[in-house]
């Protein structure tokens, strides 16, 4: 039904919806990033990476740029909150995040619809593990011996990646059915 706000530019409405969802994604990712640091963990690099669920959703709903925005903002704000910015933990987080996001956006761009959230998530998790290892062996420990823990680390990352991929798939499904994501709602006031 036509409403008084029909003068709203549909393009602008779409843009603001996108901004609001991205802001929500970043906020949620920061919370997950921070909460995860409170979980007991056998080693500082054993992370479940729940925050990546939001980056995955951003990638599938809004594209590559959105995924980069979510992950980089999450690492910056999350590290500020944890008070570990520019510490070894932060460097590990950043190098893992950069390689992981590169692989995720890259695989989505290359494989398109053939790859789902689980595949992208698993690649992202493996990229995160590899990025952290590269940082640890080149900058923090300066010894190639750290690669001995890589296989275990990788298997753990793949398991966490599958779980996060499923979670992201559920979230994407939920959001695609949301009114804001219906093409018909574009420019219509609900």
């Amino acid at each position: 039904m036509p409403m008084t706000s029909s003068a709203v530019n549909p393009q602008r409405l779409h843009q603001s919806r996108r901004s609001i969802f991205l802001a929500l994604f970043i906020a949620l990712a920061v919370v997950l990033h921070t909460m995860e640091a409170l979980l007991p963990s056998p080693a500082p690099w054993f992370r479940l990476g729940f925050a990546n669920i939001l980056a995955l959703s951003a990638l599938f709903l809004f594209g590559s740029r959105a995924a980069w925005t979510v992950n980089l903002s999450r690492i910056a704000v999350g590290s500020l909150l944890l008070g570990n910015i520019f510490s070894p933990g932060f460097l590990l987080s950043l190098s893992g995040g950069i390689l992981s996001t590169t692989l995720m956006t890259g695989s989505r761009a290359v494989f398109g619809k053939k790859i789902g959230p689980v595949g992208v998530s698993v690649l992202g998790a493996a990229g995160h593990a590899t990025g952290q290892m590269i940082m640890a062996s080149l900058v923090l420990l300066r010894h190639p011996g750290v690669w001995q823990v890589f296989p275990i680390f990788l298997l753990f990352a793949v398991a966490a990646g599958i779980a996060n991929g499923i979670a992201a798939d559920l979230l994407i499904e939920l959001l695609r059915n949301h009114r804001s994501f219906q093409p018909s709602s574009l420019g219509e006031n609900p």
Binding site: H143, G145, L154
Partner: protein, 133 residues
């Protein structure tokens, strides 16, 4: 059921990628576990060797780092850190090592324990380094 649901949510390529990564991880782990047992324990602080001993002689030593003294135990051909002044004790959690190339690192206390092969190999290498540099 749950597993079936997970399977349904994956595309063909997703399944292939998961399988590939799991295989890579398992194979790498098998390969790492098949390396020969080492002969020498080397302790480095910031890249400098501060302690060296054969792996087959049981002993307990204390090595100083910036945070304090780290206790290292060599026993039954295994090396482990049994006490450390670092905050998270990750090095103690890394357990015992015995194979060539394995390391235990304590990043906060700047210490790295490494297992080397037979000593004659290392000395020959060092001698050669002196000549070539």
């Amino acid at each position: 059921m749950a597993i079936k649901d997970v399977w349904r949510r994956m595309t063909l390529l997703d399944r292939f990628l998961v399988g590939l990564l799991i295989c890579a991880g398992v194979l790498a782990q098998i390969w790492l576990g098949s390396r020969p047992v080492g002969a020498t324990v080397v302790v480095e602080r910031d890249g400098r060797v501060v302690f060296q001993a054969p792996l087959d002689t049981p002993r307990q030593i204390a090595v100083d780092g910036p945070l304090g003294s780290t206790e290292i135990l060599i026993e039954q051909g295994l090396v482990r850190i049994i006490a450390s002044p670092c905050p998270h004790k990750v090095c103690m959690g890394m357990g015992a090592i015995q194979r060539t190339g394995q390391v235990i690192a304590c990043v906060p206390n700047h210490l790295l324990i490494r297992i080397d092969g037979p000593p004659e190999e290392t000395t020959a290498e060092h001698a050669y380094d002196l000549l070539s540099r």
